[in-house]
Amino acid sequence: MHKLLTDNPGEQMLLLGNEAIARGAIEAGVAFTSTYPGTPSSEISLQFFQMSQECDLYFEYSTNEKTAFEVAAAAANSNVRSMCMMKHVGLNVAADGLMTLAYIGVKAGMIVLTADDPFMFSSQNEQDNRIYARLAGLPMLEPSSIQDAKDMIPYAFDLSEKLQEPVIFRTTTRINHSSGIVKLGKIKPRVTKGNYTKDPLNHVPVPAVARKLHVKLLKNLDTAQGIAEKSEFNIVEGKGKWGIICNGVSYNYVRDAVTDLDIADSARVLRLGFSHPMPDTLILNFLKACEKVLIVEEGEPVMEEAVKAMAQEEGITLPIKGKGEGLLTRLYEFSPAQVENVIAGYFGVPYEPKEAVDLSDIPEIPQRPPTLCAGCSHRATYHEINKAVEELGVETIYPTDIGCYTLGLLPPLSTADFLVCMGSSAGTAGGFSQVTDKKVIAFIGDSTFFHSGIPGLINGVFNNHNFTLVILDNGITAMTGHQPHPGVDMKQFNMEGYGQVSIEAVVRAIGVPHVAVIKPNKVKKSIEAIKEAINFKGISVIISQEPCVLYAKALKLTKQRPFEVTDKCKNHRDCMNYLACPAFYVWNERIKIDPNLCTGCAVCAQICPENAILPLKKKKVPA
């Protein structure tokens, strides 16, 4: 049985934040779950995916975050508790629906989980999605600890049902990817089938209806504020005239600092776990007990601005600070020492940080950026693009997209020039091709193509743009941990009840005039096909098909023999200079291949001018 289905209230388990969240949802009787994978939220979905194979919980990998949101919204409006998870930028994709579902509301509880990523460990920006709660007028909960993460989910479901509104649950990477010991609670039975009651005058927001619904939303916000005033997740601790208001993981740093600086008698702390709408009365009473207040929040000064506005309206004139010179920053995630330092400085308490070792004489250490796996087919495709471009002598622009293949950015491949967001490769390709005379070759992965690449391609066909779109089809959503997508044949995993959408059929149906399917591990043939596509005036699409080798290896689908560099090698180093596969290493000034890393894709063997790279003689290599 899946460990998160353990029905043993009181048991203590070491859980990852994302597991604790999934467990919280199970305890709340969630019955319908959906997602588009995105770090740092992916493990929540993985838990649901696994559990859905063992019980009547419904889970789906949706085509994109907007769809994940919509299916969950319908379930919640049919009296089934639902939850959809996404990374912070995913909420931008779902935001269109979010803004108006706030007007329409829900029947059963619905949680929209956004996993923010301060410091951008695995994201393209560090937007602060607390602002969405304000924009949509929806309640927001923010856990500070792993236990919180579990406990707040059932609370959020109840709250959502009480208000008949979706609730936004906001985490940051340090919650998602931290572990702690969690005490389990009771599991509520799941209600998996619902009923939908027609109510078009409340559910179809034509202007006359929407005007009425907005009034309802504002009323709901008032009710929500009343609940926030008394919420068990909004806590005041300590006594004294120094006030600290904080949220999320910052609360932990504040608590550690208060202990370490020994200021529990002079500092009081307000932690906002139910952070929108803000509990005005609670905050004002807190301010009135203080002489000086510091706001500790990662990201934007959301609480700071609100608290300052509240104080102004009440005529409270104490100093309230948060972001600024010598204080806290809007950048990145905080560290405990940084918070302690600012608290000590602001309140004038002596603080001696642990002195880190002197770094001045540490030599420069070579960077270790992530790189495409040994044998990754993207490397082959990119090399073939580079060769084709070189042979044709064209100047290029490479719009790219989000996935492992973004790593084509790095030398020696250097096949990424411009990236904005999911699906932007196809859209921006149209713009570049319209205003420049360069050959535009855009790259998009299979999952990203389904997510949001299709409209850009349709746009190119309709508006008669001139670019080549290379769809890197490796049969899985690789980067976020190998989740399926609509192009995947689920039968290969012995999973029944799924359809399958052919990328090639979609591309042809869109009316792309030139379509070629290549097998990137066949180098010569692929280069020829790429050259033809590049020479085509108008929209051309290359579908480069080869399974993600990391996934194929994990499923034991490949049994190819590794290769070795034989004595025929004349040290041209084309293999290293063009491909730089991580299976290569340099030993005594010669290139060698690590047989434990080599996947036997044979791409390097095809580009070696001396034909010096051959299958390893020995039959079996120890793992």
Binding site: M13, L14, T39, F121, S122, S145, I146, T173, R174, H177, S178, S179, G180, I181, V249, Y251, N252, Y253, R255, D256, E333, S335, P336, A337, Q338, P353, K354, E355, A356, V357, D358, L359, D361, I362, P363, E364, I365, P366, Q367, R368, P369, P370, T371, L372, C373, C404, L407, P411, P412, M479, L550, M576, N577, A580, P582, F584, Y585, V586, P622, A623
Partner: protein, 198 residues
């Protein structure tokens, strides 16, 4: 309860997260409060993986610069890269078997000299325990057991509030049955290596 802070750094694929989860399980079994966090952006693609484990009474799961009591590096250059987490009292344990970053292979950057690397760490911290953990893992019959060798070594230091029995019991629960024997052997070899270095 006193707070002890451990940082583990590794290259993706070296089994750092499994090692952390073994320590987490050991703490749970032993009733030691524990919080940990891991940063593994694109670990499977050869990037750096860092785990922070905080034992005892503290709320934070991040270890600030200079705050680590123990730094364990699964790869020598990565150990050196994480030295900012150490202070003069920190104990450092490192594997000495390098994994070349591909940047070095394509001629961007020079891999640090191993003798100099050890001298630097030794001069700046309280103690350095350095040995070839990859060799010991192979000796134990599981080349992927570097993580278990280093678990043995870090347990030997006695800095964490966990006994060898605790950790071994947690290994039984958290690692694959088929590898348990070789993992326990790897643990013992690491334990001994740290003893000899002492």
């Amino acid at each position: 309860m006193e707070t002890t802070r451990l940082i583990i750094v590794a290259v993706g694929g070296q089994g750092n997260l499994l090692a952390s989860s073994v320590l987490g399980e050991a703490a749970l079994l032993n009733g030691v409060p524990l919080r940990m966090s891991e940063i593994h952006g694109m670990a499977q693609r050869g990037g750096v993986v860092e785990s922070a484990l905080v034992f005892g009474d503290a709320e934070s799961t991040i270890i600030s610069d200079g705050e680590a009591d123990l730094l364990v590096g699964f790869e020598p250059a990565e150990t050196l890269r994480a030295i900012n987490k150490c202070n003069a009292e920190t104990t450092v344990i490192t594997n000495l078997a390098p994994l070349m970053p591909f940047t070095v292979n394509i001629g961007q950057g020079v891999y640090p000299d191993l003798a100099e690397l050890q001298n630097l760490i030794r001069a700046k911290t309280a103690k350095l325990i350095a040995f070839n953990a990859a060799k010991l893992a192979e000796e134990a019959g599981n080349p992927l057991g570097v993580n278990m060798v280093l678990l043995g070594a870090l347990t030997q230091t006695g800095i964490l509030p966990l006994s060898a029995e605790n950790v071994k019991e947690a290994m039984e629960r958290k690692t694959k049955k088929a590898f348990l024997d070789s993992n326990l052997k790897a643990f013992d070899l690491g334990f001994k290596a740290a003893e000899q270095a002492a």
